[in-house]
């Protein structure tokens, strides 16, 4: 008669443990993804800075941060003016807005 609450408690504990381990796995995966994303972002930022210095820095210093959509327009203008490639444009945009 007293087994029911015990079984319920065991069931709840099992569920909590499974959920906890699942959460830990998800958290670990999320942490790895965030770390990978941060590494990618850092790589893109570094490459963007290098492309900026190589292409834009020949004429002027890095501008202050403008809103991304305004900067996207400026970079389209500079793509034409300074013959930036599509890849240059994306990396420089990332560097100047992130």
């Amino acid at each position: 008669m007293n087994r029911v609450p015990i079984l319920c408690l065991a069931f709840v504990l099992t569920l909590t443990t499974v959920a906890g381990s699942s959460n830990k796995k998800e958290a670990a995966t999320a942490t790895a993804l965030v770390a990978q994303s941060a590494a990618n972002a850092e790589t893109m930022r570094t490459q963007g800075e290098e492309r900026f210095r190589a292409n834009c820095g020949r004429c002027h210093a890095a501008p202050q941060k403008f809103p991304p959509r305004a900067m996207a327009t400026v970079l389209r203008h500079m793509r034409v003016r300074a013959t930036l490639t599509d890849e240059d444009m994306r990396l420089v945009l990332f560097y100047l807005t992130q």
């Binding site: 820095g57 004429c59 202050q64 959509r69 400026v74 034409v80 930036l84 490639t85």
Partner: protein
């Protein structure tokens, strides 16, 4: 009955509260999604109004000129591949009048009004009125907020200004160590209207950029298709040191209107170890240049903006950047010429502005 109504009133009140709470919860849940769906694409460009405003008094051969400039730039992106761009130039040249006050004309000029179509990663098609891609100063270094010295190079009027026609331009890597850029154009209109002057000509500019040493060298050619059919040839160089905050620019040109060269070096004092905050914002500049008369008369040369006689000039300057796009400028130059030597002092402030004309996203 009264009790029931009271009970039902309590129940109704509870229901109302529950419904309102549920509504608030739903709004809270939906708010991020709704906000996200309404927030603009961060990479979708918006029209912008940019440009430069400057107040640049100068004293040339003892003559004081209060030069006031306002050069707005309008950029309107359309779709994924189009850009409409335009720059106007308003310049007030105020000199001392006989009554002691300052006055003078305000020059208005349309530098470019062009439509660009980015056809593919290697080719952009431009039509309309555009800056003539002869050398590098006219296209890249002309804006006051970019140029290191405010006085124009002596040879700037040769082969530059604006063209009315069409242009193909672009760039592509020719190896892992070099990128090639090109611009080839034809100006089909010969407009003599004040403010939009142009002439018929064809031309090409080719440059090779070496990302390793950050060196660009290039050449320009232009053939004038007016009554006088002459060739213009130019060369340019741009170099930016990796080790020091130094940049070098240089151009040379040969034409029937005249020949010459200029070479300019700019050094940002960011590596100086005293007064570091101020030094990081300071740039020193020097330029050497020479001009040789062409096969045109002195009067015609001066009407084109060229010196009327052979000339040599040395310029020195300093720029102090209060912040990006806002700087104080100073320069001193001395010109040595068979027509007479003179000094030129320039000082003033330059401000670059940018105003998004649409939903701009978050910075």
């Amino acid at each position: 009955m009264f009790f029931w109504r009271q009970e039902s009133g309590v129940l109704g009140w509870r229901r109302t509260v529950l419904v309102r709470l549920a509504g608030l919860l739903l709004l809270q849940l939906l708010a991020p999604a709704r906000g996200h769906s309404q927030s603009p694409d961060p990479e979708k460009p918006v029209p912008i109004l940019s440009g430069t405003a400057g107040f640049l008094p100068s004293v040339t051969a003892g003559q004081t000129v209060l030069d006031t400039q306002f050069n707005p730039v309008l950029l309107v992106p359309l779709g994924q591949n189009w850009l409409i761009e335009s720059r106007g130039e308003f310049e007030g040249v105020f000199q001392r009048q006989p009554d002691g006050s300052f006055g003078g004309p305000v020059h208005k000029h349309l530098d470019y009004l062009q439509a660009d179509y980015i056809a593919n990663p290697y080719v952009t098609v431009t039509a309309g009125r555009f800056l003539t891609p002869f050398g590098i100063f006219n296209e890249r270094l002309y804006p006051e907020w970019i140029r290191a010295l405010q006085p124009d190079p002596l040879i700037l009027p040769i082969g530059t200004a604006s063209s009315d026609g069409a242009m193909l331009r672009g760039g592509f890597p020719v190896s892992s160590r070099a990128n090639l850029n090109y611009a080839t154009y034809v100006s089909v209109a010969s407009i003599g209207v004040s403010g939009v002057e142009s002439e018929r000509h064809v031309g090409t500019r080719v440059g090779v950029f070496f990302p390793g040493p950050r060196l660009e060298v290039g050449a320009s050619w232009q053939k004038i298709l007016e009554d006088v059919r002459k060739n213009l040839v130019g060369f340019h160089l741009a170099w930016q040191s990796r080790a020091l905050p130094v940049s070098i620019h240089s151009e040379a040109v040969r034409s029937n209107q005249g020949s010459g060269y200029w070479a300019e070096g700019a050094y940002r004092l960011s590596q100086v170890h005293f007064w570091e905050k101020a030094m990081r914002r300071t740039e020193l500049v020097a330029r050497a240049q020479q001009f040789f008369n062409g096969n045109i008369s002195s009067d015609v040369a001066q009407s084109l903006g060229l010196p009327g006689a052979n000339a040599r000039e040395a310029d020195f300057g300093a720029n102090y950047f209060f912040r990006d796009g806002f700087k104080a400028v100073f320069s001193y130059g001395r010109q040595f010429s068979s027509a007479g030597d003179f000094n030129q002092w320039t000082f003033g402030i330059v401000y670059r502005f940018l105003v998004p004309l649409g939903r701009e996203g978050t910075p």
